[in-house]
Structures are given as C-alpha cells and as structure tokens.
Symmetry: D2
Subunit: 347 residues, 4 copies
Amino acid sequence: MTIKVSIIGATGYTGSELVRILYRHPEVELVALTTRSYIGMPMSEVYPHLFKYSHLTCEEADLAKIFDVSDVVFVALPHGHAMPVAHEAARSGKKLIDLGADFRFTDFQVYESWYKVEHKAKDLLPQAVYGLPEVNREKIKEAWLVANPGCYPTSAILALAPLLKQKLIDTGSIVVDSKSGVSGAGRGLSLGSHYCEVNENFKAYNVAAHRHTPEIEQILSRIVGEQITVTFTPHLLPVTRGILSTVYARLSSGAGAEQLRQLYREYYKDEFFVRVLPDGTLPQTKWVAGTNHCDIGLTVDARTGRVIVITAIDNVVKGASGQAVQNMNIICNLPEDTALAGPGLYP
Amino acid sequence: MTIKVSIIGATGYTGSELVRILYRHPEVELVALTTRSYIGMPMSEVYPHLFKYSHLTCEEADLAKIFDVSDVVFVALPHGHAMPVAHEAARSGKKLIDLGADFRFTDFQVYESWYKVEHKAKDLLPQAVYGLPEVNREKIKEAWLVANPGCYPTSAILALAPLLKQKLIDTGSIVVDSKSGVSGAGRGLSLGSHYCEVNENFKAYNVAAHRHTPEIEQILSRIVGEQITVTFTPHLLPVTRGILSTVYARLSSGAGAEQLRQLYREYYKDEFFVRVLPDGTLPQTKWVAGTNHCDIGLTVDARTGRVIVITAIDNVVKGASGQAVQNMNIICNLPEDTALAGPGLYP
Amino acid sequence: MTIKVSIIGATGYTGSELVRILYRHPEVELVALTTRSYIGMPMSEVYPHLFKYSHLTCEEADLAKIFDVSDVVFVALPHGHAMPVAHEAARSGKKLIDLGADFRFTDFQVYESWYKVEHKAKDLLPQAVYGLPEVNREKIKEAWLVANPGCYPTSAILALAPLLKQKLIDTGSIVVDSKSGVSGAGRGLSLGSHYCEVNENFKAYNVAAHRHTPEIEQILSRIVGEQITVTFTPHLLPVTRGILSTVYARLSSGAGAEQLRQLYREYYKDEFFVRVLPDGTLPQTKWVAGTNHCDIGLTVDARTGRVIVITAIDNVVKGASGQAVQNMNIICNLPEDTALAGPGLYP
Amino acid sequence: MTIKVSIIGATGYTGSELVRILYRHPEVELVALTTRSYIGMPMSEVYPHLFKYSHLTCEEADLAKIFDVSDVVFVALPHGHAMPVAHEAARSGKKLIDLGADFRFTDFQVYESWYKVEHKAKDLLPQAVYGLPEVNREKIKEAWLVANPGCYPTSAILALAPLLKQKLIDTGSIVVDSKSGVSGAGRGLSLGSHYCEVNENFKAYNVAAHRHTPEIEQILSRIVGEQITVTFTPHLLPVTRGILSTVYARLSSGAGAEQLRQLYREYYKDEFFVRVLPDGTLPQTKWVAGTNHCDIGLTVDARTGRVIVITAIDNVVKGASGQAVQNMNIICNLPEDTALAGPGLYP
C-alpha cells in the first residue's frame, strides 16, 4: 500500500519536519508540497539539509488539485487558514490532519475569543477529533479530520492525565510552568526570534494569556469530568528544540512519589512514545530531541503536599509533526510507530 | 580612604567576578587573592580576561596574615569552609563577607540538616547578618560578619517581600519556579557542567530538595511573621549567567495587576538596584547581565486568582559578587552603588 | 568640560552600545538620539537594559538641529546614509564620527564598485581620516571627520601591521580567515540572523566577496608601501559578540615565534588596548567581551614556514562603538581610555 | 544474515552514537558494550536518550569473550588502547574497526613522534586499512582491521582529493582552517569542555601542532604521489556537533569555480554521502547534523588566484561513528548506506 501525501504549507519548520520524518516512512509517497513564499523553488533549495532527499518543487496551493492526487493532506499553516482546506477535504472525501488550532475546540466561541478570528467552518467542528493518541486513540481511528494538538498542551496534558483520571489532586491547584525552544515560533521573522535577542537570554511571555491555555483546560476538563482552569506560563528557552513543562498540583491524597510513578507506568503501559522515567531520573529535553517521545518524571514535595510532574518533548516532533504522523498512522491503520521509532540525537 | 580587601577563594567564578567589580571601585585596594588550585600563578594567567587589570599572584590562604593586611575579607569558598575564617575575623576585629551558606541560618540545625555538615562556629551565628540590603539594610550597617544571600533566594525573596509584607497572598500557596545559568554551578568540573550535556538542553534538578529552600523560607517567614513553606524548583538554563524566577501565589485579596505593581514601586522606591518594570514588560535575564539589578515584573491571572511575579538577576552579580560589594559599601559607609552602577551588556 | 554628543541611528546595536559606553564617560552629555523605527519612544523602552540609565526619547533626525546642539555626532547608520550628515557637519563646523563605510576609502571608485552606490560626498573624502588609532593616531588628532573602521578590518590590520611594517612576510601569501558573532549583522530582521538558522550552526559567507576586503587591503598597502591583495573569508559564529581572525602568511625571514612576539610587544608597547599574549596563550573571544581590547597571539609553523597570527576583539566595542569613543577621546584631547578601560565579563 | 557486533568503550560519545546508528541497522545485533567507568550499569541509564532502545548492560572488557561472541568489534577508546584489542582480533579472525588513531599511520615512527606513545602492534600495521571509503574503498572491502579516520582529516581530505588528483593546485600552498564542535573532545571532564568556558566563546587550539596534521598529510601525499605538508589550524566552536573546514590553496591552473565544481561532481558522482552543493550555496554544519554526509562547496578568489573549498561534516557521524558503520557495511558486503541514509535534524 502506498499512501499519497501532500503538505499544505511545507516550507515552515513543521512542514520541513514532516518531509524529514516521512522520508523514512515505507508506505508514504509525498506528492505535493505547497508554499506561499517559495513558489517554484525545489524543497531541497529552501532546506538544503534535504538535498538528495526531496525531489519535489514547492508549488502554490491549488486545493482541488492537491486533494485529487492525495490520500492524506497535512496542513501546516497559521491558525485561521485551515478552514477552507477542511471544506475541500470534506468535499473530496480525503483525510486531513491540521497542525494548527482551527479544529481543536469543540466550542467555536472559545476559539474565537482566544484567537480573535471568526470560525468559518463551524459545521465541521463536530466531526473534528483531537489528535492526542494517548488520550483519544479510539476516536482518532475513525476520524477524517484530525486536529493535531498544540505543543504545550501535549506536554501539559500527558503530565496531568493520570492524576486527574484517578482524581488524586485538587483541581483548582494546577500550575503549568512551561519552557519552549525557539522553533515553536516558526520560521517567520520577528524580533522575538532574532538571534541576538534570544541567545544567552531567557524570559516568560504571554503570561496568563497564552492561547494554549483553553486547549489544555478543554482536554483536562474532559478527562476529569468537571470544568478546570489552570495557570499556564510559557517561557522562551535559548535552544532550538524542546519543551519542558514543570507541573504543580496539590495532592488530595497522601500518595507518595513511587506510588504515583507506578500509577503513571500503569496508565501509559501500552504507550510506546511515553517513557516514564525511573526514580531519581528527571526528564531533559535533549533526551527526546528529534524523537516522538514524551518523557515523564515526578516527585512529591512532602513538606508542602504538592506533586511536581515534569515532562519533556521535542516541540517539533511530539509537539507537532511527529504526532501528526502518529495520527496518520492511526487513521491509516498502520503500526503507530512507523517512521517514528528510534533514539534521538545525543549529545 | 582606601579599603584593603582580600579574597579567600579568588579563583572560582565568584572570586574572579569580585576582582572584575572591585577594579572599578575607587576606594578599594586588592591586597591578596588566595587559592587552592593555582598557588603561585598570576591571577591574570588563571583568568586572562584580567590581563592588564590584575597584578596579584594567587597564594595559599594564610588566614592570620590575610587579616593582618586587610580591612575587609571576602570568602568565596564552598560551604563548610568559612567557619575557621570567621573565627579568624573575630579575633582580628576585621570585617568578613561570606558568599557561602555557613552563616545564613539563624538556626544551626536547619543548616546541618540541609547541608549535611556540622556547624563549627555556632558561637558566631548570633552576630551574623543576612546580607540582602533591600530587606535588611539597617542591620547590615552595623555588621562585621555578613552572610551574603544565595542566588536563588535573592531572586525569590525580592519577588515576594512586598506581597508578604502587605499580607496579600495565601502563604500556603507559594510556588517558586526558578531557572539558572550554568555559572551558578561554579568552575569545578562535573558532568552536569560539561558543555555537551548542557548545551541545547534543559532540565530541573534537586526538585523539592534544593538547599536554598530553607533560606528562602527563613527570610520570608521573618518578613511575614509566620512560618512559611514554599515549593521551590530549580532548573538549569543553557546560558552562562542569569536567574529568572517565576513565582506563583494565590491572592487573598482581589488586587489587580496595576495596583500590585504600584505597591512594588512604592516598596522599592529607594532601591536603586531593583527595577520594577512597567505594565506589559516582563523581565529578561539578558537585560541584567553583568549588573547588580533585580528586575521585577508581574501580572495577575484573574481566571485563577493567582499573581505571577517574575524576577531576573545576574546570578554572579546580584546573586553573588555584586551583592557582596553592595554589602561592603554599606558596612564601609560608602555610597551603595559604588562600582556597581551602570547598564549591562546587551545584546 | 562637557562634550555634547548625539547619535544618529541610536536604536541599532552599535547605537545602543554607544549609549552604554558613554554612560560611564565623565565628560559627555548625551543630548539627542535619532531613529527611524522608534520615533517618540524612550530609549529605555527600545532597550530595557538601559532602564534607569537613559532618559532620552528617540526622535526623528533633524540634522540642522542635531548639529546645533552637539559638539560631536556619531553616525550609526547603514552605508550610504552618512554622506548628507557629513555635509551638515562640514557646514556646522562640528565633529563627526561615522561608524559606517562611507568615508573609509580614499578612492571613491573602490567604494562605489564594492558598495554598489554612488558616493555623494566625494569632496569630503580628502578630509576624512581612517580611525584606527593604533596605526593612524596622529592624523585622527586633527580630524573633524573620522571614518571608524570596520570590525573585520580592525581585527585583520592589527594582526598584520607589525609584520608588514618590518617586511617579514611574503605580501602575496596573506590569508585572513575570520569568524564573527551575529551582532555584526545588526538588529534588522533577516533569515540569516533568525535564531533557529544560526544556533548550533556555522558557515562561511560572502567568501572572496566581502566588502571589508578592500578596506583591509587599502590600509595594509599604506603600511607596507605597496599594493596588497588578501584572501579574506568571513564566517558566522553562533555567539552574540566577538571576532576571531586567524591570519596566515609565509615568512620571508626565518624569524621564530618568540622573536615575532617580541616584535609585536615592541610595536604595541604604548597601546593600552592591544594585549600581546604570552607564549602558549592564544586569544579567546570571551576574554575581550564587552571591552575595547584587541588580544593578539601568534605561533610559527616551522614545518611550512608560515606565521599564524590570531586576534580577538569584541565586534561591537573595538570593532565599532568602543573604537568610536576612543576616536572621540582622541579628537577631544581626552585620555584615550576614558570610559573604555576595565576588564570584560567572564565567564 | 545477522552480524553480531560489540563495542569496546561504548560509554563515550562515539560509543553511544554507534548504538544510536546501529539501532536502525536491520542486519546487526548488538551483543556487548564495554566500559571502564560504568561497569554493571544499563546503557540506557548511562545515556537515558536510549531508554527503550538499548537493553544491554555495560560490562568490563573481557577481550577473549567479546571476540568469541562477535563478528565485528568497534573500538571507541583513546589512542594507545586499541593495540591489544587488535592482537586479540587477529587471533580470533574477527573484524575490528578502530575509531582511534592507533592504526592510521603506515609509518609507526610518525605515530610515535606525534602521539608520544610506543606502538605495540607494529606487526599489524601492514594489514591495517585506512577507512575513508571515498578514497580507499577497494582496500577496505578486503580488510579485517580498519583504521577509521579522524574527524578533521575526513573533512580536509575530502576537500582536497579532487584538486590533488588532478594536480590543479600548488601543493606547497595548502592551509586548512577547521572549526569543530565540542563533542569532538569527548565526554571526559576538562576545563576546556566546561560549559562556561566554551559557551559564547571561540578560540584556536593546538595551532600548528595538532595530531591530525600528519594524518592529513599522509593521505594527501598518497593521493598526489609526492610528500605534502599543510598548515592546519583547529578551532573550538560553541556547538555540540559539526566540523567546517575552510581550505585554501593556490591554483596552478586558471580553472574557474564552476569548472572546479564540475570536477568535484564528477569525482564524487558515485558517492552517496558526499554532496557537492550548487553554485551560490556553501555548506553549513547544521545541514549535516546527525548524518553521514560531507557537504562540499567551493569558490575561486580570482583576485588572488586561490581556490577556497569548504566542507561540513558531523564530527560524531561522518567524522567517527557513522563512517565506522559505513566501513562495517563495506567489509560485510552490505549496501553502504544501510542505517546511514536519511536527512538530518534541521533546525
């Protein structure tokens, strides 16, 4: 079987990462890459690390044509741009995996109030499935429209799901302190991604106002069955790849660290991409660089009654393109780790 | 007036930073630098950036001789090593500023239980003064034995002092999430400071177990007048200098962000080294690199009722050697910013 | 005496660095900062590290007004923009120090062929003085129009001047292999300065075609008294500040390394800002970070008959703003190291 | 077919990289990992990025036993330690690929004079084959003892081989200016690899004295058929992985850049791992990060008659472990790119 795949918005970092990952995929043939900025340029010229590996030329997006030749289409565009693509997918009967935010929210009003744009495909929202396989696999299997999760939500939800499922924490006490590499801001130029402004520097940004907050809350609320709010603070790390989230919550029970670690091992026992680290080992972003893994470690601060859960992912892989391929594998009924297994680059 | 100054343990990073700062001090003459590893080597050979600026040769520490020729002695040694020096200072009647932890705790048992060594100068503890000028200036003025604060406590205490003084937060709700550059770990070799292990990496360490926790708690408790515990999580940033602390607490009142910012401005109105940033601006570590400033920004997460206070310092300056010189200026009755004012290096 | 100083183009990195350096200058009062992008914004908002240190608001450049209130004007603009400013300076009788390339070339045709713009102030070229104090101090003393050298030329010329002056090398054999930090490219946005493209990366650029080549050649030719061409290759280092130049030439004599080092010590014996390092020590960019020093080390490859001279500067200081202040001190008859002496920030 | 493979010295960076690469090798079974520092520790604990990917425990090296169970043995030890292993390999009749320098030199006296140790396996030197496939493939095919090239020599020889083969350059004019990431110095602790000493810093080291010099010269001399000396200067880049070599030589003919580029394309036309970049594109280390590629770009400086050839490799892959696996594939008669093809991690 060969799956014909296209990427809408292939010349950003998540687009080029899809090309990198799919190169190793034995069942995939890439058929089209679209772009706005590099029309007519070979992909291997836009990204010379792909020299000898990509023979496609970037083209303007002609949606009808793209869906005509594709079985699965990835959309790697800024939010607000996937809606017409989804309508085209619906017409064509093909599958679409959107790496942006347009289909992540059940309630379009939440989307509109946080993202400040009108939702133009409300009719499709009921059919969209949130693509975090570790908490939503069964629904993904049947989906034609997958909303790939945000990078921060992936790291936060995987940290909290076992605790919430077991109702072990005070749901009003959750603080998510996240730190992300700069690639999360994409390839678009801005002073905030200018080398000299980021290098040897560190800051928080969008404090108490980041758009990933309601996404985290929506999924956690669904898991626990009650409305949850969290305090979420993103920070910018002077590294290219990686998110580390340090998650705090007050334990409602007196559970100890090893007991909780055992709970996590059990919860994730069939999840190849989640690695619950042993006692004494806490995640480091470099251990997952270039991989689709989410590493989890935890400890209990007995003096204050809090559990501290730490997760690490590569924001471009498990936080974006790797998870998108994982979703593709699921909806195409392929082994979930196809093109995704393997240790990362260390050091 | 010329103050004769010596540095015990001059060849670590905080020692060489003292030399850098004191070069600009018009009232100071450096008379001796001691070392264990580089005996007989010119300081400018141990640290070639000091070429043309330091003409002293590093020598073995002969305490009696050092105090004989000095008015003020800085101790930049690992914890446990300042006690005999303090006894010698007491005998000599000279002043001592210890950059380590040996004299930071009123209660020697707290020290012994967190630092795992016996305290051998308990008799001097009542005379030691905690050297955080912004909260303890009056006592420092009279002191002969100053315990220079730890880097993390400096960043955490300055973040929380105004809120606690005004009793605006739930004292049981404090979470301090701190991120530090690698220089905080010193010049001693370890795998944790090995370039390839740190570069492009990020991790938490000593979670719920770092020795700066009881130091933070002791000072905050003193400010608020009740026993406080905090959850404190240090992380290692892939940068050389800088600490950013993100501090969370639940507001007990309904105070808004601008109201709180105004409170901070009032609280720190006479403090040259504290810069309360305007609305919309949050601290970045690079803005204070090489300076003795502590920048503070804050916001309120109205959805969850938490205040988020963010502070940035240079861990080697305000977190160590700069604050030590600030303390020296105070005990020598000099303008507090002597040798310390001036913008940092940006970018 | 107070010198009134203005900066045209103050909101780039060399402009803000001038502000940082001049803060420490006891004889200077900054009176105006101009900008194109941040008109009406306080300088301390454009660059928050200057908070508490700069009280000026950035304004649009009104040349007549600027020269009216200033004794010395620095121009920190892209090439091609200093010519009208120089004409205004000529009219006003005030002094101008241009950090760009417009007045570095004696021969306007060389300028026009490398910089691809017409020179519109040819009449002033005979009065312009190349501002490298270590080779041109006497002329600078009398100048009203100083062309501050390029960063790479500073590092290359200081490396080669003693050898050429003494005619110790084959003048056709010179190769200059230079590596620069990213701040040299300024604060303007470009993919080449985008964090993720530079971080953990290294490349050469403008090979055999960089505009600093004819500048190096012009000054070296003047020193040796014959026309010299060099092969010059710039590279981009993933650091913010620093240039290290590795310079190769074939020795025409059989001079040994220590003999040459002695020659350099003699040649630079009155130059505070040049530090000739001892045998066995080679320059590192971090040793000069934030300083106006040029460190020099050398060795002889006896097997191949080549001398290898290595220089390190901070491209923003000795390679731009620091050298500009050094030039100001010279033309204002002040001690040359005013506001410029002091060790750099290490580590 | 399954090849049983062991690694002597598996817990250094080149050892762990072999584990990473061999994980993807369909014909390899790793049977033993030896160590001196981590005896009895699971490899995935020494290197947690290998969690779920390596199930072996590191053991003390018992050579007889290792060769008994292995078909191919990699040696990833410091120089001087592979000689007894090679003797054991000879006795066992198994194959050995040495990543160190012990078997790279035909003339043991060259080895002894540069490496300052006695060669204790001179008898085996005539059987050792220099493992740079692009210049020595036919001999490697028949070898049982492969001396894997040094990282710098790989980058320098691939840069110069086509020019020397065609006798297009003055052989006395070669200058190799190389810049390497820190991983080349290994995982052993030293001040030179201490984070704060390397970060935001850049320096040359071992100038005109690096041990890779005679290795470069030996192979280039063999290619051109005359004795060649080169000036070789290594520098330390503040990155983890990557070597970029900028190679200068005077052209003896008047060949132009495109003509030379065509020569390189022809010379390397069957070499999958060499990528000759198009006109206008020069190598960047990040484009080859994590890959076995050597990217080559070149230009001609017509003004000075020099050709400038630039190569980029990942020092841990093509400069060490990847090339070692390439050699293993050759001696085992497998497709040469097995486990090695695929784009690198960018950004």
